[in-house]
């Protein structure tokens, strides 16, 4: 049996917003890692061995030991590398609870609703559109007047949500609405985040995401 690989490795899939959370977090923390693109149609031994329960990406390997689930990976990075810039606000349990709440909200709501927007038609799609606008307005409410969800610093919720900004164009096209119109502060936040190197280098252009959804639709037989 080969010795465990030292250092950080990320099992990921290029367009995954959950994987991008981890890439952005490690960039913000200045942590070097090996990126390993996974073929989700033909899952590798390494992926199946590292995440036998869910068989999903992202998986972070640290000296060969797997950490699964993107928000758990983010907290692990904070705790295993305490000298790097913290994502969760240090020393403020209430602020940490608030940050966990909003990251959890993003997890519960955004991806599923977005998927319904491009998968469905007619009344169910209209429902999804209404819901997506609600979700964006709610998140805008949580942001308030702050530059970032983390306040003055780009933090846990920012990292959790920013990958979805690459999906805004697709939500807008399928939902026939404008993020800038329904949630202008959120649109401004997205632009602000896009100016950070960690984000600019780790998100794919919105048109590429839109193209990817087109491929998925064909694959699922959604016209």
């Amino acid at each position: 049996m080969a010795a465990e690989k030292k250092g950080l490795q990320l099992l990921d899939f290029w367009v995954s917003p959950f994987g991008q959370r981890c890439r952005i977090a490690m960039a913000e923390k200045g942590l070097a890692y090996e990126y390993l693109e996974q073929d989700l149609g033909n899952k590798s031994e390494l992926l199946l061995r590292s995440n036998p329960v869910h068989k999903k990406i992202p998986v972070l390997l640290h000296d060969g030991r797997p950490v699964c689930e993107s928000l758990i990976i983010l907290q692990y990075l904070d705790e295993a590398f305490p000298s790097t810039p913290a994502l969760l606000p240090a020393g403020d349990p209430y602020a940490r609870a608030q940050a966990r709440f909003w990251a959890d909200y993003v997890d519960k709501k955004v991806y599923d609703c977005g998927s319904r927007l491009w998968k469905l038609k007619g009344e169910p799609q209209a429902e999804a559109r209404k819901e997506m606008v609600e979700i964006l307005k709610t998140l805008e409410g949580a942001l308030g007047e702050k530059p970032y969800f983390g306040g003055d610093t780009f933090g846990f919720v920012d990292v959790a949500f920013v990958p979805f900004t690459a999906w805004f164009l697709s939500y807008e096209r399928y939902g026939e609405f404008s993020v800038a119109e329904v949630a202008p502060k959120l649109a401004a936040w997205a632009k602000r985040c896009g100016e950070r190197e960690s984000v600019a280098k780790n998100l794919h252009p919105p048109e590429k995401v839109y193209e990817f959804i087109g491929v998925l639709k064909k694959k699922y037989g959604v016209e």
Binding site: V53, V67, R96, F101
Partner: protein, 233 residues
Amino acid sequence: MAGGNGGLKLVGQWASPFVTRVKLALHIKGLRYEYLEEDLGNKSDLLLSCNPVHKKVPVLLHNGKPICESQIIVQYIDEVFAGTGPSLLPADPYERAVARFWAAYIDDKLEPPWDRLFRAKTDEVRAAATKQLFEEVEALEGGFKECSKGKDFFGGDSIGYVDVALGCLVSWVKATSVLAGAELFDAAKMPLLAAWMERFGELELARAVLQDVDAAVEHGRMLMAKNAARASN
């Protein structure tokens, strides 16, 4: 509103295992709190103002400030009251990640089919949800092995984060087993987990906090009848 109990108030509902989860954490830490029982069919202004996003229980109020989502509440309690009573999460970052993984598994993989089981409008839907629930629990045997490392609890020698995350469901595991006519934590398939449940149920903590199983069975029957009746209207 000023009050004793160190400023802790828990808004809950007796049948909810997620409320039980918070009660277990508070009990382990030896924390006193005021408990407010909600009528979920007629939600209070307090609940709606403290949890406007999800409008659900549990909500913990600490000196008037609300914290929502049971796992987030438990981690909050562990952090704020770090000096009081035992720690729930382990100290090591990797072990913390493993504990969080299994706690997330419980809510992400067990809760949805469990919920569907009780809300099912037809026998077919209930049967499918039941089958899925019985399949999803099997992974917990491996979870127990990974977390306990041969000891009595997920937390090792003593109760930890995952014991709380799963222990809160013990009355519902037993109630569901009665209602489904089959052991959800089947000792033949999941010997370690079944033994853990026995052990957990014997703790003073469990006796003090967990719902009465008969009451849970009755509540479950009521939920199933209510949802089936709605379908035929």
